[in-house]
Symmetry: none
Subunit: 206 residues, 4 copies
DNA sequence: CATGAATGAGATTTCATTCAT
DNA sequence: TATGAATGAAATCTCATTCAT
């Protein structure tokens, strides 16, 4: 194999399985993960206007690294959003297996709203910023949808949730309730009473 | 009184209320009002990142005029926000006088959410942008609070709304429901069903 | 004489000597004087970058009035400068009549520098701003020149000032000494010793 | 040592002093130096109102580069000022080692004033612009002070300079004389005679 | 003549993105 | 791959000047 001067590329001699290359990829993956985590936090607490530079600094990487992983700021936003949707989908899938559909449904909603207390602001912000995620997050959205579908229909079949709504309404309520919880800024008592309002609204009307 | 020739100056005989003086201020006030209206629209439909220049252009004034009325972009945002709160307070105050407290309460909420469909994005966006309105809008907020207080307690006394909540919870639900309606993007059927969920949640539990 | 509608001009029927017209002109003159005084103060203490609006406000007049009296900011600067030169010329002329040319010369210089302590910054600033006063202030400059000429040559004839300098050098020393005094910021002792240096430098060499 | 192929990263084996790392910083340092030099020139010749954009263009860099190095225009002004003070301090320090304290002292002053002819306008302008350098340039000022202190006391001990002044007065005279030289606008004859006045003033009185 | 609202050119500053090292 | 200096378009904001009242 000829020694190549000039262009600098990973030496194929080592293959993708060598420790050297793997180490680098592990670093890269770690950087990506840290960037995502840091971005979620910062976007949630400080709004979408924080500069990419600040996120990179908080993640302990150079700005160039951020843009290598996420070619635009919007791509980073989307990745953060997909990450959250994915986590929600996982949780919903896990809960869908449990018995007691009514209790499980309520537990899921409480959990979502609990997260909204500290995180979030992201879904809102994304929406208000007019970012179009339709195509990018299609698969994650589908996964979340089917998981929620299962949770919801199970709960409806168990008589714990009103029959006249579909996931569309459920999602809207979740989005709104998250916003409401954020608005309360951590006051546990108010939060509890407010969540009760939403849950009561979801129950079958008498 | 003789017709006056010569130099034209505000005749002190008329005091500061002369049309001459008022006419100019009327122009300024008209510009201010137009700026506010345009800003509300544009912020709501296109997000908070629209440039001040664009808003000025849409209002048909120079950029300098915008900054004469609102010395910073944030000041403009605050003014828009205060304007909205004030309008809400006025509406609530008007409705508080009507009979049928339960129906009036529901009507008010439906109205707020109807507005949220097209406008808004502003309260959310403001919050997520970290703008601190606490001090600026104190009086308007107080007015809105007392108006809502009246609407709420009337409705509670009439048995149309659950007794275990105060304006804090009501406001949170309003904020959340507005967000939910926005999320639905104008789909009337989904909107109607979702609003029903919030209203049912506010009714006295059976 | 026909009654004229439309164009509004001072009614010639009253002539320029009527009290009505005179009263207005007196007001205008007072405004001009106040603008000049205020501008001198503010330029001196805060630099040439203060806005015209601030000067007008400090003088208690509208910005329009400022620009009526001085069609550009530079015109205002020139007027201030001319005012100062004129005052200096008057003082020099008055002193030129006194006996004891040596003492009078020293007194004049001390006086100039005393003024520099609080005012000035204007000559410096004007120079550094590249304002060309050559033509506008020609007559005032000439007057100051001839007055200084008289003071200087008298002092030289009396043997109190070195013979190898002309007004050009004297003016340069005055400008520099003013700057030095300003630099000392009001410390009387340092000021006194520094002024002595300049005065000693002006004496005939031994 | 083997030639390294593959990924190019700062080899920790070399520490932070490797040429790779230094090369980039050298570029940045070159840009910073060029910006400072250009800014000094332009500020001196055209006044402090020149736009940052023009300075960046004259230095051959983008406006963003200017603001990366100097986050505000005032920061750039301060840096230019500090640079000048530092250069003066270096020169004074170098001269302090020479024999013939009297001649050296005079040489230093002539040099300062020679520079004032083309450059400067900056100290004046800074002062008149109200920029407060007191805290920023503290160390440089201290260095200049001690260097001047040495020059002055040496000259005084040699009997070339009057005993009744300290650096405070010397600095004031330097500031003033610089201003005077600037005022003369390059006329060599007038300049020479004027400088003589200042130098004579600094000599021990007879 | 006085006023001050309106104007808009131009200044400063930010920030997503690129690219040489 | 990582870095961070460089870039410049675009945003915010200022201010001398004009002009309708």
């Amino acid at each position: 194999m000829p020694v190549r001067y000039g262009v600098v590329t990973p030496n194929p001699q080592y293959g993708v399985e060598t420790p050297v290359v793997k180490r680098l990829r592990a670093d890269a993956r770690r950087n990506r993960a840290r960037l995502l985590a840091v971005a979620e936090d910062i976007f949630a607490t400080r709004g979408l206007t924080v500069s990419t530079e600040e996120i990179a600094a908080a993640a302990g990487v150079g700005i160039g690294t951020l843009f290598r992983h996420f070619p635009t700021k919007e791509a980073l936003l989307e990745a953060v959003f997909v990450e959250r949707l994915s986590a929600l989908a996982d949780e919903a899938n896990a809960l869908a297996l449990a018995p007691e559909p009514g209790e499980v449904f309520v537990a899921f909603i409480r959990d979502v709203l609990l997260q909204a207390r500290s995180k979030s602001a992201i879904a809102d912000a994304l929406a208000s910023a007019g970012v179009d995620l339709q195509h990018t997050a299609a698969d994650v959205k589908a996964e979340l949808n089917s998981a929620l579908e299962r949770l919801l229909s199970n709960a409806q079949r168990a008589g714990a949730v009103r029959d006249d709504i579909s996931i569309a309404e459920l999602l809207a309520v979740l989005v709104g309730a998250s916003r409401a919880v954020q608005h309360l800024g951590g006051n546990a008592e108010l939060e509890a009473r407010t969540i009760t309002i939403f849950l009561d609204g979801l129950r079958p009307p008498t």
